[in-house]
């Protein structure tokens, strides 16, 4: 069962003359543990695709299926529960609540779900520790660097065994070293069974994914096939 299924998703904004077709019959399936990158120029609809996948927006037509359950019929409360337990979303910036410490930010979805203070704090700390961020647990977001903030955001997106990670330009505002670190973290999560969809316009970041999907003018026009292993890459140049 795929973690995420987008079936014939279309999204239209506005009416009549000012109508904008952001997405046109896009289909996408993401298996557990796979890492998909969505590439496209600005205006191609990739961010909209992500917000629809994350139940932050409803499609004009089409179906969103998360872990076998269609989002269509869900009430607002159920969708919120989905976001608390299954879906982790990372924005390009302004991910963290400035009034909470890093560990409180990470445990936010758990606390919103009703987990007790102590249990959620432990879970948050272990999520941070897995990503090498224990030392920033007690600090507030405005005391952290940009890279640390995004990493904390990713920690929050994977805490508590979430299975779907959606990230919109997660490394957008970071330098290349920090960007790499963020992508490594996402990859590590995928190894743990999380399905990840990352929207980016940067080819180097997209190349971290198993599969790169190309959007143009709201349509999915292409995707990469399964890449060769590194050995296959270098073999033509080597003797024997």
């Amino acid at each position: 069962m795929s973690t995420l299924d987008l079936i014939n998703i279309s999204k239209v904004y506005g009416t009549g003359a000012s109508e904008v077709r952001a997405l046109q019959e896009v289909n996408l399936s993401v298996e557990p543990g796979s890492f998909v990158a969505v590439m496209g120029p600005s205006g191609s609809g990739k961010s909209t695709l992500l917000t629809i996948a994350g139940t932050l927006e409803s499609p004009s037509s089409g179906e969103v299926v998360i872990e076998g359950r269609s989002v269509e019929g869900m009430a607002a409360e159920e969708r919120a529960r989905l976001r608390r337990r299954t879906v982790g979303y990372v924005f390009q910036d302004f991910n963290l609540l400035p009034g909470l410490t890093a560990v409180e930010n990470v445990s936010l979805p758990l606390e919103l779900d009703g987990m007790g203070l102590r249990a959620s704090r432990e879970a948050g700390l272990s999520a941070l520790a897995n990503l090498g961020l224990e030392q920033v647990a007690g600090r507030f977001p405005d005391e952290l660097s940009g890279g640390e903030r995004q990493r904390v955001a990713i920690a929050r997106a994977v805490v508590g065994e979430r299975r779907l990670l959606l990230a919109d330009e997660p490394s957008g505002a970071l330098d290349s070293k920090n960007a790499d670190t963020v992508m490594r973290m996402i990859l590590a999560a995928c190894k743990g069974g999380v399905a990840a969809v990352v929207v980016t316009h940067d080819a180097q970041l997209a190349s971290w994914a198993d599969r790169v999907v190309f959007l143009r003018d709201g349509k999915m026009v292409d995707q990469t096939s399964r890449p060769a292993t590194p050995e296959e890459l270098i073999a033509p140049y080597r003797r024997q």
């Binding site: 990859l187 180097q204 790169v212 060769a228």
Partner: protein
Amino acid sequence: MSIQHALLGLLSTGPKYGHQLRVEFEERTGDVWPLNVGQVYTTLQRLERDGLVQSDGEPDGPRKTYRLTEQGKHELDEWLYTPPDLTAPPRDELVIKVLVALQIPDVDVREILQSHRRHVLELMQQWTRLKENEAESDVALALVVDAELFRLDSVVRWLDAADGRLKRMALEAEPPAKAGPQLRRRSAVRR
């Protein structure tokens, strides 16, 4: 690719056997650019002829030791500190391909761009795998992988820019009434 300066560089740390030179070169470039034996010895001979290295008189073969001369050292220094000539752009096959495609009617240039884009991304995926697995500890390898990734990235960026230009061109060409699409493209393409 000329490897003579690379060999001069390897000799600057001390005299070495030919065989040693080959092994070290491969090691220091992350095994990415394997060298041909013949290529190595041919280059060494040429260097000796030009007076940049000096051999110890042994017969040609693995046991022959080479050392750097004063002139060779001077040549090495100059090469290291002189930036390469970047003024004339290399003949880029991809660019030529796109330029040709623009001339031909009934060819979907944007499709060509997309298929190249996909291919380049697939390549980049592989290089990134390499970075992920091995390049952590091997600095030399990391440098080479980065160089490749940035190079391929620049290709993707050019593809995106070209895409944008073509899209704008198509939009601008629309307003005048239909006078035949083929005619239009040719007139738009005229330089």
